[in-house]
């Protein structure tokens, strides 16, 4: 079973450092997403594992084989790494029909014609594109092209599948649908998926583990829910989740694992799940929107700045005496703008050290 290990991998383009000393252990059969804003080095990382880009330093091994080692001068060509790659723009060959596109890779493996035809038809069926067999890519819609590209990538049955933002050119509805299918595909093909995206929702919903990067540096590598609930730093906390997390600046007064935190006019008590050590007094409190609770029993009052109801939930922006807060209320509720409501923190919050931006502790928050 293929396991991918990256050790101290760096990539520099001249003076620009695209990926900096990356260590990553991708377990076999996992679905990993490389997540981050554009230019964070995620695509470069993927291309380095696939062999389309040559790292400046480090070693990469796939399934126990060292495919790249800068010191030993090993650099296996991409076609010898037994991987599949799905490109963002599909990269279908315009001069070949759907059938020819899918069969091309199998011809390279010197399969006989009958076997190729069987495999292609199997894939056409699986991806429900059988009727387009004789068409050229230019005659297909975006979603159909996407399916052809997936079929082409899956045809030789690669044990590792790389995907570079494969859904970003599709419309929202189709994207939803393809996500479901990709997850299903992951199970059915029994291979390791490495997936690049800048869409945190995609990373959350699809992967078994998320690798979040910024400025070429690994920020956190964890299962998506853990990352959501216990982000390693301010960047990760901010990047994961929509609507985004509330950051509230404050000062902390320490007493063991308890702290009294002053947030503007609000005094709150934070009970950490482990002993806290801070470099200074300044902290940032991260509170997810669903953990701000609006009810008549709330301890403090705020003014409704705006609301965004979707039917399933409503995002409410509150002005709590100068502190802007985002809250999510589930169900089809709405509040008049500029009306007064009461709110409370419903327990969970993450405490960050303002100076380092690092996660200090997770804990319960209670307004005093």
């Amino acid at each position: 079973m293929p396991e991918i290990i990256l050790k101290n991998v760096s990539k520099r383009f001249g003076k620009f450092v695209a990926v900096d000393d990356l260590n990553l252990n991708i377990e076999s059969n996992s679905f990993i997403t490389l997540l981050g804003p554009s230019g964070c080095g995620k695509t470069t990382t993927l291309r380095m594992i696939a062999g389309l880009e040559t790292p400046t330093e480090g070693t990469i091994s796939i399934d126990g084989n060292v495919v790249f080692d800068a010191d030993r001068g090993i650099n296996l060509a991409p076609n010898k790494r037994d991987v599949g790659f799905l490109f963002q723009n599909y990269a279908l060959w315009p001069h070949m029909t759907v059938y020819q596109n899918i069969a091309f890779g199998l011809e390279n493996l010197k399969w006989d014609k009958k076997r190729i035809a069987d495999r292609v038809h199997e894939l056409l069926e699986m991806l429900r594109i059988g009727e387009f067999e004789k068409r050229y890519p230019a005659e297909l819609s975006g979603g159909q092209q996407q399916r052809v590209a997936i079929a082409r990538t899956l045809a030789p049955g690669p044990k590792v599948l790389f995907m570079d933002e494969p859904l970003s050119n599709l419309d929202a509805k189709l994207r939803m649908e393809m996500r479901t299918e990709l997850k299903r595909l992951h199970r059915d093909t029994d291979s390791t998926f490495v997936y690049v995206t800048h869409d945190q929702l995609e990373a959350m919903t699809l992967s078994t583990r998320v690798c979040i990067m910024e400025g070429g540096l690994l920020q956190q590598y964890a299962p998506p829910l853990e990352m959501y609930n216990n982000p390693a730093n301010l960047f990760v906390a901010d990047f994961m989740g929509n609507p985004t997390i509330n950051f509230i600046d404050g000062t902390a007064q320490m007493e063991g694992s308890k702290a009294t935190i002053t947030l503007g006019n609000i005094q709150a008590e934070f009970t950490a799940d482990k002993p806290i050590s801070l470099t200074g007094k300044d902290v940032v409190l991260g509170v997810r929107p669903e953990h701000i609770h609006i009810s008549d029993a709330g301890k403090r009052e705020a003014v409704v700045y705006s609301t965004l109801p979707t039917g399933m939930e409503t995002t409410v922006k509150l002005d709590a005496e100068g502190i802007m807060l985002t809250a999510v209320v589930f169900g089809d509720v709405d509040y008049p703008i500029d009306s007064h409501v009461r709110f409370d923190f419903s327990k969970t919050a993450v405490l960050f050290d303002k100076a380092t931006g690092k996660n200090v502790a997770r804990g319960a928050l209670r307004i005093k």
Binding site: R47, N79, N89, A91, H95, F104, G105, A138
Partner: protein, 608 residues
């Protein structure tokens, strides 16, 4: 009562529609150009057709035994079906076969050479890339006879051709090349192929550069060997560009005149264009029929080209995000390939200039020793007394040369302004009314002059101008030049306009900016370099043009190129070479100055 009312409604509806139609500047532009281009291209074509049935003065009237101006099938009979003395074979079929042979070969050479260099530059880690890509377009910027003249002066010897004198190869190295190498099919095809190789380089290189690298990477991942990727992915995607290049080079080679004149005529190797020129002096009607045949070939090629580029395999070149495609490592082959390429380019682009310079310095032909050299042909005075040929002063002191240079420059600037501006307007109209019949008509008409052999184009306009008293001299030259070079300008104009989304102009329209201001302040600045390229190409082409103007240049005012021809005909080799060098230097200077100052470049309008 009812009826008149509906009549009125109908009328006002039509009026409203007409008003709406004419309120769009694009429609007015297209209409104006439709009329102008019809007059300027279809009318000459029609008059050409008439000429093929008319008896002309001189030999023709005597041979046909018919009065001048009478209707006759005589020309057709002579050109296509006269067996006496193999007349049709010698005057038409053999030159036709020669033309086809030369054109096919030169197209193949252009594609192989230009395409290979394009591939090396865009897809490998070749050394000296900068030099290669900078120098590679030289042969196209320089006049086409440059290489021909160089070939002749370099390889000629007293055993072959006109048997006049030895070139550098024979006199310096003592090597006497065989006739087939110096004159006829082989050198003509080779020189034309090299001259048009930049077409292939620009067209194929453009596709290769814009081609999505992911297409090749996808194949790599699927374990495709390198050669198979090139063969099955890269080549098929470049194929339409290659076919386009083939057809365009074919059309250009077919109508080329100066190269076959220099390298073919001395050994009586004729192609259609040179036969046509000979016939123009004796049997005009037959010459016009040959022109007609050449135009038919051109039209067929244009139609083929359009068919090739409109297929269902649409070659959209959406660029992927991997701009840095892994370049093929040439490894140990890198240095040898690079050096061979640089040597070839030096031979093609730089050595000719050095040769012309040398030839303009030596006093006695064939003697390249320092003692035989002088700067007199450039800056000497009282030459007519010391030498038995040429003008009294070197060309740089000769007022006639300066006058011709001024006239050439004036003509080039005028043609480029008219053709370039028309090109932008045509581009605007065609892009705005994309797909409409009117736009297609104007687009085709504006490309039509490209298919007319220059010499024939000049001849037709000469015939036409004899009926119009005010159309002569500079005005005639400027008109012919502008129309002939419109295809280049309209090509780059249409391309530039198609790249602009309509919203850009609409954003200005909505705030009430008048049309001329939208053009000048919004559209032009955005696509400046493309538009300026549309001006540059006619200018450069005009500066180095010979065959288009040779028949219509007024005797009182020569341009540099016709002056060069006169000197060549008189056998004033040194003056000729000096003027040739002057033309090339001016052309290169104009090209690179404009390129450096504005970013406009000849690549953007080439070929179509």
């Amino acid at each position: 009562m009812q009826q008149t009312q509906t009549g009125k409604v109908k009328f006002s509806r039509i009026k409203g529609r007409l008003h709406a139609w004419f309120s769009k500047p694009a429609n007015i532009i297209l209409l104006v150009f439709l009329i102008a281009l019809t007059v300027l291209t279809l009318y000459p074509l029609l008059s050409l057709l008439m000429e093929t049935f008319t008896v002309h003065m001189g030999k023709e009237a005597r041979a046909a035994k018919l009065p001048v101006g009478a209707f006759t099938w005589y020309h057709f009979q002579r050109v296509f079906a006269t067996r006496d003395n193999n007349y049709s074979w010698i005057q038409f079929y053999k030159p036709l076969l020669n033309t086809l042979a030369v054109s096919v070969t030169s197209s193949v050479i252009a594609i192989l050479f230009g395409g290979m260099v394009a591939f090396l530059v865009t897809r490998t880690n070749l050394k000296y890339k900068k030099f290669v890509s900078a120098v590679f377009t030289f042969p196209y910027i320089m006049p086409s006879w440059t290489l021909a003249l160089f070939w002749e002066t370099f390889f000629k010897n007293v055993n072959i051709g006109l048997k006049t004198s030895n070139g550098i190869m024979a006199s310096v190295f003592g090597v006497y090349m065989p006739e087939w190498f110096v004159y006829g099919y082989f050198p003509i095809a080779l020189v034309l192929g090299l001259h048009y190789a930049p077409f292939a380089y620009i067209l194929i290189g453009g596709i290769l550069r814009n081609m999505d690298a992911n297409l090749e990477e996808a194949a790599t991942i699927l374990r495709t060997p390198r050669w198979r990727i090139i063969w099955r992915i890269t080549l098929p995607i470049v194929k339409p560009a290659m076919l386009s290049t083939f057809l365009l080079v074919f059309a250009s080679s077919m109508s080329a005149y100066s190269v076959p004149v220099f390298l073919g005529s001395p050994v009586r190797y004729y192609v259609l264009s040179t036969t046509m020129k000979e016939l123009m002096n004796t049997y005009k009607g037959q010459a016009y029929i040959i022109v007609g045949v050449m135009i038919l070939f051109g039209v067929a090629i244009l139609m083929l080209n359009q068919k090739v580029t409109n297929s269902r395999k649409q070659f959209t070149t959406v660029t992927g995000k991997s701009g840095q495609i892994s370049k093929i490592d040439l490894k140990r082959a890198n240095a040898p390939i690079a050096i061979i390429l640089v040597i070839i380019l030096l031979l093609v682009a730089v050595v000719p200039l050095v040769t012309f310079a040398l030839e303009s310095l030596i006093i006695k032909a064939g003697d390249y020793s320092l003692g035989n050299m002088t700067l007199d042909f450039w800056v000497g005075t009282g030459l007519d007394k010391r030498l038995d040929q040429g003008d009294s002063t070197g060309i740089l002191l000769n007022p006639k040369v300066w006058k011709a240079l001024g006239y050439s420059l004036g003509l080039a600037v005028t043609c480029s302004v008219i053709a370039g501006t028309s090109g932008i307007l045509v581009g605007y109209g065609v892009a705005k009314r994309r797909g409409s019949r009117l736009a297609n008509w104007v687009s085709s008409l504006s490309f039509f002059p490209y298919l007319m052999p220059s010499l024939a184009f000049g001849a037709i306009y000469l015939a036409m101008s004899s009926n119009i008293t005010w159309l002569h001299g500079f005005l005639l030259l400027a008109l012919v030049g502008s129309v002939k070079y419109l295809p280049f300008a309209s090509r780059s104009g249409v391309n530039a306009m198609l790249q602009l989304s309509g919203e850009i102009e609409e954003a200005a329209l909505i705030t009430g900016v008048p049309w001329w201001k939208r053009m000048l302040r919004v559209i032009f600045p955005i696509q400046k370099s493309s538009f300026l390229s549309g001006y540059l190409l006619p200018m450069v082409s005009c500066m180095r043009e010979l065959s288009l103007f040779v028949l219509i240049v007024p005797t009182s005012n020569t341009i540099l190129t016709t002056m060069l021809m006169q000197y060549s005909e008189k056998g004033w080799a040194q003056f000729g070479n000096a003027i040739n060098l002057l033309i090339i230097v001016v052309v290169l200077l104009v090209n690179f100055t404009v390129n450096k100052l504005t970013g406009a470049s000849i690549d953007k309008g080439v070929g179509g």
